[in-house]
């Protein structure tokens, strides 16, 4: 792993310093198609925040706006008060370095082994030697139960394992904020449970801020400190708060129906 040019080597400095996120009046619009409009919420540092909503309501799109992959049509995404999209390019890269992202399918780089996948961010942003990087990558992989798979290519392992390897990569730089796009989709119930436990542990031991996109009710109730509900009909966020509170006290019937699997269907 030898990227050209010097690496700036500041990555480790952000370790376990948790960060708060504020989404203000965010508009997500592609051409004439409005995905969501005027979305507002705040993610408290060191908490697990869930973005929920029906399939196709724009949850993953919201996540992509938050992590700097899609510029918003309007509104701001602020990290500790600093607006991401108004920051300079260098500053954006610096902010991104504090993120770890687990994409839906794992999104491992298919031409690299698992160890190389996990090691690439380390090689970019730390001054560790190749041997140290290999050791760290191996440790991160063991955290997600993939010890011994260092030299496998992504195509040689199962979908669930790819996802876990993606998680190891997301955690490589001990990021302040972890983003998860549908982490438990495609995982068996036990793996999904273990993943939930891992998230809780990351929050408690490292104080990592965690943002999860999901519609798995069991996970939502197990891990979420706060959540926001994106409504597909009105195309905006209609509820924000702790899930248990939303289940009993939310004024919006569709939120209660969602959280109770339809058994509190107001219709």
């Amino acid at each position: 792993m030898k990227p050209a040019g010097e690496s700036n080597g500041q990555g480790a400095e952000a370790v376990s310093k948790s960060a708060g996120i504020a989404v203000e009046h965010l508009d997500m619009i592609f051409g004439d198609y409005v995905v969501q409009r005027d979305v507002n919420f705040r993610v408290e540092p060191g908490r697990i925040f869930v973005i929920m909503g029906a399939s196709g309501c724009g949850k993953s799109t919201l996540l992509r706006h938050m992590v700097g992959l899609i510029p918003p049509a309007g509104g701001r995404v602020c990290y500790d008060g600093e607006s991401y999209w108004e920051a300079s390019e260098d500053r954006q890269v610096a902010l991104r370095r504090r993120f770890g992202i687990l994409f839906q399918g794992g999104a491992l780089w298919s031409s690299m082994t698992l160890a190389e996948n996990v090691g690439l961010p380390l090689g970019l942003y730390t001054k560790l030697s190749p041997r140290e990087i290999a050791e760290l990558a191996s440790y991160k992989l063991s955290l997600v139960g993939l010890r011994g798979f260092e030299d496998y290519l992504p195509a040689e392992i199962s979908g669930g394992m790819r996802k876990r390897a993606g998680l190891a990569r997301a955690m490589a730089l001990d990021p302040a904020i972890l983003f998860f796009d549908e982490p438990s989709a495609g995982l068996d119930p036990l793996s999904s449970y273990r993943l939930d436990r891992l998230l809780l542990e990351l929050r408690d031991s490292l104080g990592t801020t965690i943002v999860v996109v999901t519609h798995e009710l069991a996970s939502i109730f197990a891990i979420a400190d706060d959540c926001v509900f994106l409504d597909a009909e009105s195309r905006t966020a209609i509820a924000w708060g702790p899930p248990k509170q939303l289940l009993t006290q939310c004024k919006q019937a569709q939120v209660r129906a969602f959280l109770s699997r339809g058994s509190q269907d107001a219709g």
Partner: protein, 423 residues
């Protein structure tokens, strides 16, 4: 109660006076037996479809029966539409009541018909009463219409008028040009970073690309360049022999190979082989969010993916060019010595006389440019690829077409420039 063929009344205004045989108790669809207790026909033939529309006061009654199987096609609810229109003109219909009678078999054919009738009733502002249908059928109709049609998806609007189409196509061409210029711009910035030592990529990727484009392409380049040399020699031989100038075949083959054919043909071969592979590889990475993963890590996909490929091909293509020249000249010599009875030494000396080192330099320079262009076309199509398997396929095809287009256009530009400078 088997239904006879003449019960099928497509026209409206039949008085609905036939005795009601009771509601269907059946809850099965597409089952072999009857849905309301009537035994199946022993001969296995299907009963014809029964549709009877009769109006009595404010209630328009629709009776469906017989066999509704997809194998017999779908039925248009024209009779219901007509009856509703007539009823609406008289201003008396309040309810459209559907019931089944002697329904033997029913699958989606009946469901499509009933949902269409349901929509007609709704459009006419008439209450739709399904209590005369079996509960299973009624439930499926309700389910099909439970969620309102999603609008505002950007997929509305039927046929686009021809003038609009021309306009949209023109705008698409502009957008495409804009997209290509942007990509070249991004690549220039990326080269700027490379020069300042700030571009991040793996030199190992360059080596892999060199290997893939070089040694693994030798066989195909040998075949193509050899044959091209022979074809040129043949064409030359047929024409020049008439004037007793057969020896000049060596000049023809030598000049054509070194100035044009070797560079262009290797460019086209590599476009089909390596350029397409670049597009497929990068397109798949795009489809699987791998490029997003790079971007989110603060790595530029242009630096990390495109730069090593452009460097790799720009380095390897000139070597392939030299090899292709050699093979092409050898092919020409083979024809020259066999068809024209020239001695190899004669042919070789004539070739040496004809070729000035500048010819090689011209072809060499072209091949560097072509290599870069093939890589750029492949990477650009890959990076701009959509997120589906079909999009990857399109990107691959389009990469080859774009690369060949770039090569030919650039070659033409070279020809004009070299003419101007008298080279």
């Amino acid at each position: 109660m088997p239904v006879e063929g003449d019960d099928l009344v497509p026209a409206a205004h039949d008085n609905a006076t036939s005795p009601v045989s009771g509601h269907d108790g059946g809850a099965r669809l597409a089952s072999e037996g009857s849905l309301d207790g009537t035994p199946s026909r022993p001969d296995g033939a299907r009963a014809p479809r029964l549709i009877r529309v009769g109006s009595g006061g404010p209630v328009l009654e629709l009776v469906v029966g017989g066999s509704w199987v997809l194998a017999d096609g779908l039925t248009d609810p024209a009779s219901v539409k007509e009856a509703l229109a007539v009823g609406a003109a008289a201003g008396k219909i309040e309810t459209l009541a559907v019931r089944s009678e002697g329904l033997e078999q029913a699958d989606s054919a009946l469901m499509v018909y009933l949902t269409a009738v349901h929509d007609l009733a709704l459009a006419a502002g008439v209450r739709f009463d399904m209590s005369g249908l079996g509960p299973a059928i009624a439930a499926l109709v309700t389910l099909a219409r439970a969620v309102p049609e999603r609008t505002g998806t950007g997929h509305e609007g039927g046929a686009v008028p021809p003038v609009d189409q021309v306009g949209w196509k023109a705008l698409a061409v502009l957008r495409e040009a804009d997209s290509q210029i942007r990509f070249f711009g991004e690549l220039c910035l990326s080269f700027g970073r490379l020069i300042r030592g700030r571009a991040r990529f793996r030199w190992r990727d360059v080596l892999e690309i060199l290997e893939d484009a070089g040694p693994r392409s030798l066989l195909i380049v040998t075949v193509i360049a050899g044959l091209i040399g022979m074809i040129l020699a043949f064409i030359g031989a047929v024409q020049l022999r008439r004037f007793g100038a057969g020896i000049y075949v060596a000049d023809l083959v030598g000049l054509a190979m070194t100035r044009e054919m070797a560079a262009v043909m290797t460019g086209i071969v590599i476009a089909g082989k390596t350029g397409a592979a670049f597009a497929a590889r990068i397109g798949t990475m795009q489809a699987q969010e791998e490029i997003d993963a790079l971007t989110s890590l603060g790595l530029s996909p242009i630096d990390f993916l495109v730069l090593p490929r452009v460097i790799g091909l720009a380095l390897m293509m000139p070597l392939l060019y030299l090899y292709a020249c050699g093979v092409g000249l050898a092919g020409g010599m083979l024809i020259g010595t066999t068809v024209l009875d020239l001695s190899p030494i004669e042919y070789w000396q004539q070739t040496q006389l004809a070729l000035h080192p500048s010819q090689f330099l011209i072809g060499f320079g072209k091949s560097v440019v072509f290599g870069a262009l093939v890589a750029i076309a492949g990477c650009m199509r890959g990076i701009r690829c959509g997120r589906s398997a079909a999009a990857v396929g399109e990107a691959t095809t389009s990469a080859v077409v774009t690369a060949i287009l770039y090569i030919i256009i650039t070659d033409a530009a070279f020809a004009v420039l070299l003419e101007i400078y008298g080279l």
